[in-house]
Subunit: 162 residues, 2 copies
DNA sequence: GTCCCTATACTCGGATAGCAAGTGTCCGAGTATAGGCGG
DNA sequence: CCGCCTATACTCGGACACTTGCTATCCGAGTATAGGGAC
């Protein structure tokens, strides 16, 4: 069970966009440059964020991406679901209804126990992701990152938004 | 992010094996027959369960699989990890260390915030799976399944273990 | 000097190849059993 | 009749094709800007 690498990229991009002044936008090429990832592929994932309403876009010169709402209101779950889809990892194929002990469909009123257990775990996972916002991540980075790194990042931002 | 279908199959097989008398064993072909799935492919997953020490095998006639320990001591997480692997779905590639704002490795003492958030969610997921045992599932099935189905399953079992 | 127009360059967006991992299958190694043979 | 031996058939186990979905890339559609020209 592997999560798409795009989730990591998208999350980092959201954190970076959260520190960009709202009147400015960052194009996909700059986001890719900052994170050292392929620009064309990152663009694909940014599209997914745009479709999900997490970021909004401006075309043309001085255009690019910006957060569509305050970082406090963007959860980790929003980002994960935008990139990876909203479907649970586990898909019950109802194999209990097959084979020699199968019964007519109406006899299966109760949910499959295994399916239910998987759903509980999935819910716990989603709850945890929902409890972390982009703003939380940003605070954490501000608190724990090396001062040198913050300065370097700020300088780079000022250069590209100039 | 898709989980292998084998997890569902393996879980159902464990539940079924939990009701087989300990002195009997069920070959992969019978397990596949009961669940209506391809025998050859199910065998592959049963091998994984055997490697993980969840089931033990007996070769030759009257051989097959049986649980290696009481159903109370086999968790859903055991089964999932046996089939799907123990690695977390999210893999941090440390892209924060790349690009124009990168620093020497020693500057990154704190864990990546995004990585940490993903790990928390992953831990919550695993905790929930660890809290459900095969015995729990079996009890749930006994309680909620249609009586007809239980009888039908019991008859089938008696036939193949005869 | 001011306004308008046009050409430009830059942006996103979706459609298109490539590849890795999961899916599905098969045949060979090993063993408990059942039957036959000898005592 | 009893015990041993052999052949058998049944089991798991790992090695081999195939398909789906993620990875990676490119080119076309649309737009804000900048520059030039007319007034």
């Amino acid at each position: 069970m592997r999560m798409s690498d795009g989730v990591e990229w998208a999350a980092h991009c959201c954190v970076l966009l959260a520190v960009v002044p709202p009147e400015h936008a960052l194009p996909a090429a700059r986001l890719a440059e900052y994170h050292g990832v392929p620009a064309a592929y990152l663009a694909k994932h940014m599209q997914a964020l745009a479709r999900a309403g997490i970021v909004e876009t401006t075309k043309g010169p001085r255009g690019g991406y910006r957060l569509a709402r305050p970082a406090e209101e963007i959860t980790m779950l929003d980002v994960v679901e935008a990139i990876d889809g909203t479907e649970p990892a586990f898909r019950c194929s109802e194999i209990r209804r097959r084979g020699p002990a199968a019964l007519p469909a109406r006899e299966y009123r109760a949910k499959c126990a295994i399916h239910a257990a998987m759903n509980r775990a999935d819910d716990a996972w989603r709850l945890e992701l929902r409890n972390t916002t982009i703003a939380d991540l940003l605070r954490q980075v501000h608190r724990s990152a090396s001062p040198k790194g913050l300065v370097k990042a700020a300088n780079w931002l000022q250069e590209v938004t100039a």
